[in-house]
C-alpha cells in the first residue's frame, strides 16, 4: 500500500493539487465515521473463456473430475492469457466446474449469463449485478460500461437487467459515460450549468405532464420513462453537487482514448478508469464492464495492432471459429486478447489497491468477478463456466488464493453458476434460497443454497 501522498503523486485520475485537501478530508471523514459499503465489479468478456487457457501450467486438469478439487493458487505460474493477474495470486480464486446450462444460447448468453435463465428469453429476470446492487446502494445504483466493435455505439442493453422486461443500459461511449458521471469535473462552470439545467429539466418535466393529460394509460406510461429520467437526473444533479469536490478529484482525464476514434482497448482502458473514478468518488458500488458481450454477441473485433499484429481487424467471430487471422492461429489470438483484458484489469486492481480505506485499501473491500457471457467457448456447452474471482469482499468470501474445481456436470457435489451468484447475495445480506432458474436436467442434485465452500 502506498501512502496518500504517494498515491496522489502517482495517480492518473486527474488529480490537481488544489483539490487535494478536501478529498483527504472526505476520505478521513469516510473512514472515521463508518465503513463504506463493499463494492462488486463484474467484468464480462464475450467469446468464451476456455478453462484450458487459464489453467496454471503444470497443474493437472482431469478431464472429468468426480470430486471437489481445492488447492492454493499462489506459487503456481499463471497461464499466459491471465499472466497479468499473477501478482495478485494471493487474493485470487479460479473457480472451475460450475455449470450454467439453463442459460444456454448460440453465442454469448447476455442477460442469461448474469441472470441464470434461458438466454433466448432475453430480459426475463433480474441479473446478479442488479440484485447485489439492491444491497449496496449508491447514487448510481448500477453503472454499466462497455466496449463494442463500433466506437460510435452509444448505449446498448446487453448483459444486465433489474427485472423482467427491464434491461439496464451499458454505456459504450466513454466520453458519454464520463459526462454522465463526472460532469462536475468537466469544466469550471459546471455548478452554474447544473443550476440552470435544473430549471430546464423542470420546464421539460412540466411539458411532459401537459402532454400526458391527453394520453391513455399506456402512452402515458411510455412518456413516464422520459419524465422519470428528467426528474431523476435533476435530483441526482443536486446530490452530485454535494459530492463536487470528491468527483473532481476522482474523475479521470478524458483524453483521446475516450473518443470516437479510439481503438477498442483504448476505450476499454477509458472505461476502467471511469469505473475506478466512480468507485473512488463513491458514486456507485456495483459496476458491470462488458467487452463484446451480449446475447448472440461474439466479442469485439480488435485491431491487429492492439494484439501485436498488423493493421486490420481481428474478427472475433472468426477467432471463435478457430480461424487463422493474419497468419496467427485462433488459440494464440484468444490468449493475446484475454491477456490485454487482464492487463487492464490489473491496472484497475492496482488503482483501487492504492487508495487507503479503513485499515486497508479500497481493493480489500472490493470484489471482481471476471467471466465470459459465453461460458467456456464461442459456441458454449455451459457444462463448465470458468470464473476468476479477485478479492474477498472484506472477508465475506473465502476467495483468496484458491483453485477450486467442482465435480463434473451431473456428478454428486456438482454446483451451478446460479449457486455462486446466490453466494454473492448471501455475502451482501440477501439470504434468499435461490437465484435464477434451476437446471431441469440435474434436478436430482442440490441447486438451492449458497456454496458453503466459498461463503465465509
Amino acid at each position: 500500500m502506498v501512502s496518500r501522498r504517494e498515491f496522489f503523486r502517482g495517480t492518473t485520475l486527474g488529480v490537481g493539487g488544489l483539490f487535494l485537501a478536501p478529498f483527504l478530508r472526505q476520505l478521513d471523514a469516510a473512514t472515521a465515521v463508518a465503513a463504506r459499503p463493499p463494492r462488486i465489479v463484474f467484468f464480462v468478456q464475450g467469446n468464451g473463456m476456455d478453462p484450458q487457457q487459464i489453467q496454471p501450467p503444470g497443474m493437472t486438469r482431469p478431464a472429468e473430475p468426480d470430486v471437489l478439487e481445492d488447492r492454493p493458487l499462489a506459487g503456481h505460474k499463471f497461464a499466459r492469457s491471465v499472466a497479468p493477474l499473477e501478482p495478485f495470486a494471493q487474493r485470487i480464486s479460479f473457480i472451475h466446474g460450475l455449470s450454467g446450462r439453463i442459460a444456454l444460447g448460440n453465442h454469448g448468453m447476455g442477460m442469461g449469463a448474469l441472470g441464470c435463465f434461458p438466454s433466448q428469453k432475453n430480459v426475463f429476470m433480474e441479473t446478479i449485478d442488479s440484485a447485489v446492487s439492491r444491497q449496496l446502494p449508491g447514487l448510481f445504483r448500477h453503472v454499466g460500461l462497455g466496449v463494442e466493435t463500433s466506437p460510435a455505439t452509444s448505449v446498448i442493453y446487453n448483459v444486465s437487467a433489474s427485472g423482467k422486461s427491464a434491461p439496464l443500459p451499458t454505456q459504450c461511449n466513454p466520453l458519454q459515460a464520463h459526462e454522465t458521471l463526472f460532469a462536475l469535473a468537466a469544466d469550471a462552470g459546471a455548478e452554474k450549468k447544473i443550476e440552470a439545467d435544473a430549471k430546464l429539466l423542470d420546464y421539460l418535466a412540466d411539458d411532459v405532464r401537459r402532454l400526458q393529460v391527453r394520453l391513455n394509460a399506456f402512452e402515458k406510461a411510455k412518456l413516464d420513462h422520459y419524465l422519470h429520467a428528467l426528474e431523476s437526473i435533476n435530483s441526482r444533479d443536486s446530490a452530485l453537487l454535494k459530492l463536487s469536490d470528491r468527483i473532481k478529484l476522482a474523475a479521470p482525464h478524458a483524453d483521446e482514448r475516450f473518443g470516437g476514434q479510439a481503438y477498442a482497448f483504448e476505450r476499454m482502458e477509458a472505461q476502467f478508469e471511469i469505473a475506478a473514478g466512480a468507485l473512488i468518488a463513491g458514486l456507485s458500488n456495483v459496476i458491470t464492464i462488458s467487452s463484446g458481450a451480449g446475447r448472440d454477441q461474439t466479442g469485439v473485433d480488435f485491431d491487429g495492432t492492439e494484439v501485436g499484429l498488423s493493421d486490420g481487424p481481428i474478427p472475433a467471430h472468426e477467432v471463435g471459429h478457430n480461424q487463422v487471422v493474419q497468419g496467427t492461429p485462433a488459440d494464440e489470438l484468444h490468449i493475446r486478447i484475454r491477456a490485454r483484458h487482464c492487463e487492464q484489469l490489473a491496472a484497475f486492481i492496482r488503482k483501487l489497491d492504492s487508495i487507503p480505506e479503513g485499515q486497508g485499501t479500497m481493493m480489500d473491500h472490493t470484489l471482481i468477478i471476471f467471466l465470459s457471457d459465453a461460458a467456456e467457448s464461442h459456441h458454449p456447452k455451459g457444462r463448465e463456466w470458468p470464473l476468476i474471482v479477485i478479492g474477498d469482499l472484506g472477508g465475506r468470501l473465502r476467495t483468496r488464493n484458491r483453485y477450486l474445481r467442482f465435480p463434473r456436470y451431473g456428478k454428486p457435489g456438482h454446483r451451478t453458476l446460479a449457486s455462486f451468484f446466490l453466494t454473492l447475495l448471501h455475502a451482501v445480506g440477501d439470504r434468499r434460497d435461490q437465484f435464477g432458474l434451476p437446471d431441469p436436467a440435474i434436478m436430482d442434485l442440490p441447486q438451492l443454497g449458497p456454496l458453503e465452500e466459498i461463503l465465509a
Binding site: S154, G163, S165, L200, F218, H225, H379
Partner: protein
C-alpha cells in the same frame, strides 16, 4: 462426440426489451360470461382430462388444478396450447376416452370465443401481444373470412423517432448493425424481424442523458445565428426572444409555437437570464425546444370531434408526418405544406401525394422504407452475420449475396406486378451487379468499398458459381439472368436468404420451416422450452436430414417440430452456402417435405422439392393475406387487432385488383381508417388500460 453448433433458435425475435411491465394495465375481467366459460370447460376437464392432469398426476408437467381459468390471465399461453392440442385431436390421447364431436366443438368454441376476446381492439390484457412476434396470435379467419364491421383503430399514441436508415450503408454492408446510425440515441433493436413498433421504444435515463448532451452541442451548431442574436446584444428584447422561439420551432418541430408555448418559454428565458446570464439562458431556452416531447416522439393523437364510432381523425400535420415517416426518415415538405393548407382532408388528396412519391425516379432515395420492409420481412440481411468458413470449392461472399437479392427485390417491386408471387417464384436473378444511383445503369460490383463486410476481393469470378454458373462465366449487364427453373424459385431459394437462415456449418431446416410457418402461413411457433438442449449431433456419415429427424423424434419434440421441419427440409436441395446440389455425402439428397396444419386444401400435402413448394405457396390466397398482415404491421408500427379486419380485407382486395401491386397495397393501408384514425374510447367491455 462433438456437437454441431446448430442451436435451434425458434425465438426469432428477442422477447420485448422495451415492453415494460405495466401491471396497472392488467384490468381483470370478471363477468357473467367468465363464469359460464368456467362451467363449460370445467365439466369437460372433469370428464376427459383430470385423470392425467390433476394436481396429483400432472402428466407432462401440466396440472389443470393450478390453471388460471381466465384465458387472459397468467396462463394465456397454456390456453392457446390447450386449444391447439384439442383442435388437432392430440388430446385426449388416442388410448383415452374421447369426447363426442359435439363436445369437442363446444369446448373449442368456448376457448376460441375467449381467445378472440383478447384480440379485440383495446384489449390490453396480454401485453406481449404488442410485440411483432405475437402478431400471428390474432385469428386469421376472423380477420379475413368474416364480414368486417367498421374499423376500430388503435388509440392515440406516441411513436419515438427512429435513427435514420441510410440506403448507402445498407447496401452491401452489415445492415443489422448499421441500420441505426450508431451516433443516434434512438438506436433500434438488433436482430431479425420487424423493428419499428411504436410500443417498443421509449426514452429512459441514459438516453435522456445523451439527449441533453447532444442538445447542447446541437444548439451551438445548428442554432448559432439565433444564439448570437440572443447573446450578442446584452439583454434581448421580448421580440427577439419570441423570434428566436419561433425560428427554432420551425427548425425543430416544423410549425409555429402557440401563444401559450411562446409565453412559457419566454418566462423560462427570463428566469434563466436573471439568475444565470445571457449565455446559459439562451442555450437552455433553445434546448427546451430541442427536447420537447414532440421533438422526440411523433404524435398521432388526432384532432377535432370524435365520429360516430368514437374515432378521431389525425390532424393534417400528423398525417403529413405519419406518411413521411412511413416511407422515409424525414418530413416531406410538400406533405407539410399540404397539411398547412388543409389539403390532406380526403383520401384522394393523400393518395395523390403517395402516387407522387411512388412516381419518383429514385425509389431508394425517395421511399427507402419500402425496401426496408422487404429486408426486415425476409430477414436476408442476416446472411452477413452467419459465420461460415470459405467452402473448399468456390467462395462465400455474403455481403455480395445480400446485394444481389437487394437488386432483385428492387427490380420486382419496381415492376410492381404480382409482386409477392414473383418474389416467391422468380428464377431470374441478379449476380455481382451494382446500380449506379445517378444513372440507374447496372455495372459490375467491383468496388471494394461496396463489400467491406466480405473482406475479400469482390470481383472474384467464383462468386457466380454459388448460382450454378461456371467459373469462367463473364459478367453481363443484361440482368436479371434466368437460372434453370428446376434450381431456383424466388427469394427463399436465393443464396442470401438460405444463408441468413442457416447455421455455421449446416442448413437450418427448423428456422426455415419456422419462417414459412409464421411469415407465409400465418402460424405460430412456440419458444424452445426451458431446459431443452436443441442441438443436432454432428455425424459426418449421416445426411443432415437424418440427424435432424433423429434429434427431434421424441413426441415432446414433435409437438412443435411437426409444424416446421417438413416446411424446411425441402431446402436440403441446397448446401448451407446456398448452392444447388443433387447429392449430400455422395448420396442423393432427399428434398421431400410437406405443407401441413393448414386449413386450405389447395396448400396441404406433400411436396417433392422446394421449387414445387414455392410455386404452390405463391398461388395461395392465404399466403397473400398473411403477407398483407406483415405489410400492415410494418407500416402501422403495431400488430393488427380484430378491429382492423376491414382495413386488411380492403388492402388485400386492392392488391388483387391491381394485379398484385405493392404500391396499391401500401396506398390502401396508408389511406385506411386504421392509419388515419385513432379510437378515443373503446367499448366498455374491452377497457383501455
Amino acid at each position: 462426440m462433438r456437437l454441431a453448433c446448430l442451436i435451434v433458435v425458434l425465438n426469432l425475435w428477442p422477447t420485448s426489451d422495451f415492453l415494460k411491465a405495466h401491471e396497472t394495465d392488467e384490468v381483470r375481467h370478471t363477468t357473467k360470461s367468465q363464469s359460464e366459460f368456467e362451467q363449460s370447460v370445467q365439466s369437460l376437464f372433469g370428464e376427459f382430462c383430470n385423470t392425467c392432469h390433476d394436481d396429483a398426476a400432472s402428466e407432462g408437467g401440466f396440472s389443470l388444478g393450478t390453471l388460471d381459468l381466465r384465458v387472459d390471465g397468467r396462463d394465456y399461453e397454456l390456453w392457446r396450447m390447450i386449444d391447439d392440442r384439442v383442435r388437432l385431436a392430440e388430446m385426449p390421447p388416442s388410448d383415452a376416452q374421447q369426447p363426442t364431436s359435439a363436445q369437442r366443438e363446444k369446448f373449442l368454441h368456448s376457448i376460441r370465443s375467449e381467445l378472440l376476446r383478447t384480440q379485440q381492439p383495446g384489449h390490453r390484457l396480454i401485453k406481449q401481444q404488442r410485440h411483432p412476434r405475437f402478431g400471428n396470435y390474432i385469428d386469421h379467419d376472423a380477420l379475413f373470412n368474416q364480414q368486417p364491421g367498421p374499423v376500430i383503430p388503435g388509440p392515440p399514441r406516441l411513436w419515438r423517432y427512429r435513427a435514420p436508415s441510410d440506403g448507402k450503408r445498407l447496401r452491401g454492408h452489415t445492415d443489422v448493425h448499421d441500420v441505426a446510425l450508431p451516433s443516434s440515441p434512438f438506436v433500434m433493436r438488433k436482430g431479425r424481424g420487424l423493428k419499428d413498433y411504436a410500443d417498443l421504444y421509449f426514452i429512459d435515463e441514459p438516453v435522456t442523458a445523451q439527449l441533453l448532451a447532444k442538445a447542447q452541442r446541437s444548439v451551438r451548431e445548428q442554432s448559432r445565428a439565433v444564439l448570437e442574436m440572443l447573446i450578442g446584444g446584452g439583454s434581448p428584447s421580448a421580440q427577439q426572444v419570441n423570434g428566436a422561439i419561433r425560428t427554432t420551432f420551425q427548425q425543430i418541430l416544423f410549425r409555429d409555437p402557440t401563444l401559450e408555448e411562446t409565453a412559457r418559454l419566454a418566462d423560462l428565458h427570463r428566469k434563466l437570464f436573471r439568475e444565470h446570464g445571457a449565455q446559459l439562458a439562451a442555450e437552455r431556452l433553445l434546448m427546451a425546444i430541442y427536447l420537447q416531447p414532440e421533438a422526440l416522439f411523433r404524435e398521432e393523437l388526432g384532432s377535432g370531434s370524435p365520429d360516430n364510432h368514437g374515432r378521431l381523425r389525425l390532424a393534417g400535420r400528423e398525417i403529413a408526418m405519419a406518411i413521411s415517416y412511413a416511407l422515409a426518415d424525414s418530413p416531406d415538405p410538400l406533405l407539410l405544406a399540404a397539411a398547412e393548407k388543409g389539403q390532406l382532408a380526403s383520401r384522394a388528396q393523400i393518395a395523390a401525394h403517395l402516387q407522387r412519391r411512388f412516381a419518383a425516379a429514385n425509389q431508394q432515395q425517395t421511399n427507402p422504407r419500402i425496401m426496408q420492409f422487404f429486408r426486415e420481412y425476409f430477414g436476408y440481411g442476416w446472411a452477413t452475420e452467419v459465420f461460415k468458413t470459405q467452402p473448399k470449392r468456390g467462395v462465400h461472399l455474403p455481403a455480395m449475396l445480400v446485394n444481389d437479392l437487394d437488386l432483385l427485390i428492387e427490380h420486382l417491386v419496381g415492376k410492381d406486378q404480382q409482386v409477392l408471387n414473383r418474389l416467391l417464384t422468380t428464377n431470374e436473378f441478379f449476380i455481382d451487379a451494382r446500380r449506379v444511383p445517378e444513372t440507374g445503369e447496372l455495372v459490375q460490383a467491383t468496388s471494394k468499398s461496396d463489400f467491406q463486410a466480405d473482406r475479400l476481393q469482390p470481383d472474384n469470378p467464383e462468386h457466380a458459381t454459388i448460382y450454378g454458373l461456371p467459373r469462367d462465366w463473364i459478367w453481363v449487364s443484361q440482368q436479371p439472368l434466368p437460372v434453370p427453373k428446376h434450381m431456383r424459385a424466388g427469394v427463399l431459394t436465393h443464396p442470401a436468404w438460405l444463408v441468413a437462415w442457416s447455421g455455421n456449418f449446416d442448413n437450418h431446416p427448423v428456422q426455415r420451416g419456422s419462417w414459412i410457418r409464421t411469415h407465409l402461413l400465418g402460424g405460430t411457433v412456440p419458444d424452445v422450452p426451458i431446459g431443452v438442449d436443441a442441438t443436432v449431433t454432428e455425424d459426418q456419415g449421416q445426411q443432415f436430414r437424418q440427424r435432424l429427424v433423429a434429434a427431434t423424434a421424441a413426441d415432446e419434440c414433435q409437438r412443435c417440430h411437426k409444424k416446421m421441419d417438413s416446411l424446411g427440409l425441402p431446402f436440403e436441395q441446397y448446401d448451407h452456402y446456398g448452392r444447388f446440389r443433387l447429392e449430400e455425402l455422395e448420396r442423393p439428397v432427399d428434398t421431400s417435405g410437406g405443407i401441413s396444419h393448414v386449413k386450405d386444401s389447395t396448400l396441404a400435402g406433400p411436396v417433392e422439392d422446394p421449387i414445387a413448394m414455392m410455386h404452390r405457396l405463391a398461388t395461395s390466397e392465404r399466403v397473400e393475406q398473411v403477407f398483407v398482415r406483415y405489410v400492415f404491421r410494418y407500416f402501422m408500427g403495431r400488430n393488427e387487432t380484430l378491429g382492423d379486419a376491414k382495413t386488411l380485407q380492403e388492402a388485400h382486395q386492392a392488391y388483387r385488383e391491381s394485379d398484385g401491386s405493392f404500391r396499391a397495397l401500401v396506398q390502401s393501408l396508408l389511406t385506411s381508417d386504421s392509419f388515419l384514425y385513432r379510437t378515443v374510447k373503446y367499448p366498455v367491455e374491452y377497457p383501455d388500460g
